[in-house]
Subunit: 303 residues, 2 copies
DNA sequence: GCCGCGTGATATTCTTTGACTATCACATCG
DNA sequence: CGATGTGATAGTCAAAGAATATCACGCGGC
């Protein structure tokens, strides 16, 4: 039994004539006859009574045709579901974002992406790179916004922009008026950083090796740069933040942002997704949307 | 898209592993892979995400699999309906019977046939041979009980039994005490018969040509031999009835039944059905049931 | 860090299936 | 009685579906 046979059966039932039914099915009459015979044989039941003059349904044939129609309708719904799903910009996109990017990029990103792909709701997971990598691989998220370096088998990576780091000190700090600060100078201060589960802390430590030598650094619990910013404002020390975390929105009278002396340390932000994730258009829409945001301290990479 | 592809898709969705799914479908893994690819291609949608390590459903894939299952369920119901219909002794049998047989045979036939085929309800149409032939050919009835001669293209005929004719006269009639009456003698009397739409009247007229010469004969309106019997009881004339119409059940003090002198005229009763009517078992059950009735004046024919 | 294992994809071959054309057998109708 | 229209049958062929053999690629153990 296959869908063609059911389609032919319904056609014969409606036309009550093999030739006309065959025409309607775009096949020859013998092909139709043998198809119906094959189905009747397989089902072990006579569906039609053929006299020379006319075709009629047997009692059981009537029930079978009715049910065959139901099968064909449900099959048609498969096609219609597929039609709906054809647009890659339709359907939930599960997006992972590292803690040190999410709060500073998502508020701007979401409206832009929504304008570009209005039928693609986001489900956002904010976490660490390690966690997001695992969830990316097991399919719990589809695309991740993270900082390089990052590589993983089966995972595609698209670098998007570079973002400089900046020093944040209390407003009353002796560095508050400085034009720029060298990385080595950070060794003089207590530098508050997120714990080492966060790539950003490691990148700061790498860019400013002197920081690592100061005891008490890098011990902050929690996952939020905002906590650190508050601690700095309260005079617990200084910190280094990515530029997007220092946009006007986060300005405070208690804090001063001071750039690094050139070359300022920075991180490269990228998208990552499973190579097998089929919705390239969705990834592209996300990348384009991120590129159109004008974020402070950010240099776009060529597409 | 065909049912196999849907079946394979559901299997992969359940196993989340092409090899195991292929095994469950009794096909090779490559065959499964290509089948799924073909379906995805046709639908223009990716159903599964294949990483080296595991298979998972895309968003649209989940909906498609669910719908595919629905299609398969409905297809399975086609098979189950066919299974039910496989028994030819299940389902309505539309039976046509001529007026001069129905009232005398059906009351005995129905319980016997019901015992033989309890799941085969009868729909009975009582009519003339001409009308029944038309209804048989256009499918309004399936099998007909009638009197020979009868032949029609595409119609199968099975003779069942011979039934003698008998003369019926009022109890006070001068023939009431006779042992037998010759056909020619009927010319002496007013013989009441059904109108010529009924084969029985014609057969009587043929067996007793003298009857035709008496004016006023064969004019009875209506389709019932009982009307004629009542007319005879009331003294309007005499008549000829088939033996089954004279069983004990219909005996009356006002009437006497007198046999013809040998060789008594008779009619041959038969079944007729469309050659294309597939339920030979149902016809056979009907024939066997009729043979087991012990009807008066009836001689069974060899099967 | 390399090798073996398990995964799905691909290439090639072969069988099966579905469809075509040509033709038949049969009933109907002028 | 021949013309017409019906579904069935015969013979042929191309396309679909499946099998075997093999590949490419992650992963996990040593």
């Amino acid at each position: 039994m296959n869908l063609s046979e059911l389609r032919y059966t319904v056609a014969v039932a409606q036309e009550r004539n093999f030739r006309r039914a065959a025409e309607r099915c775009f096949i020859s009459q013998p092909a139709l006859s043998t198809a119906i015979q094959k189905l009747e044989e397989e089902l072990g039941v006579q569906i039609f009574e053929r006299s020379r003059t006319e075709v009629s349904l047997t009692g059981i044939g009537e029930r079978l045709v009715e049910q065959a129609q139901r099968v064909l309708e449900e099959a048609e719904r498969v096609r219609s579901i597929a039609r709906e799903g054809r647009d890659q910009l339709v359907g939930v996109l599960r997006l992972g974002v590292i803690h040190t990017i999410a709060p500073y990029v998502l508020p701007d990103l979401i409206p832009v992406l929504h304008a570009r792909a209005p039928e693609m709701p986001l489900e956002v997971e904010e976490s660490t790179t390690a966690q997001l990598e695992a969830h990316l691989k097991n399919g719990q998220v589809d695309v991740v916004i993270l900082a390089l370096p990052f590589a993983s088998p089966g995972i595609e990576v698209l670098p998007l922009y570079d973002e400089v780091f900046e020093v944040v000190v209390p407003a009353a700090h002796r560095w508050a008026r400085k034009r720029a600060i060298g990385a080595a100078q950070l060794a003089e201060e207590r530098v508050l950083l997120l714990n080492s589960g966060h790539c950003f802390s490691n990148q700061v430590a790498e860019a400013c090796p002197e920081v690592g030598r100061v005891p008490g650094n890098g011990m902050t619990p929690g996952n939020s740069l905002e906590t650190i910013r508050n601690m700095v404002a309260s005079g617990s020390g200084v910190t280094v933040l990515p530029a997007t975390a220092n946009s006007d929105k986060y300005r405070s009278a208690l804090l001063c942002v001071v750039p690094f002396t050139a070359p300022a340390p920075s991180r490269r932000v990228a998208l990552a997704w499973r190579r097998s994730f089929g919705r390239e258009k969705a990834v592209e829409a996300l990348a384009q949307s991120l590129r159109t945001l004008s974020l402070p301290g950010v240099t776009l990479l060529p597409a």
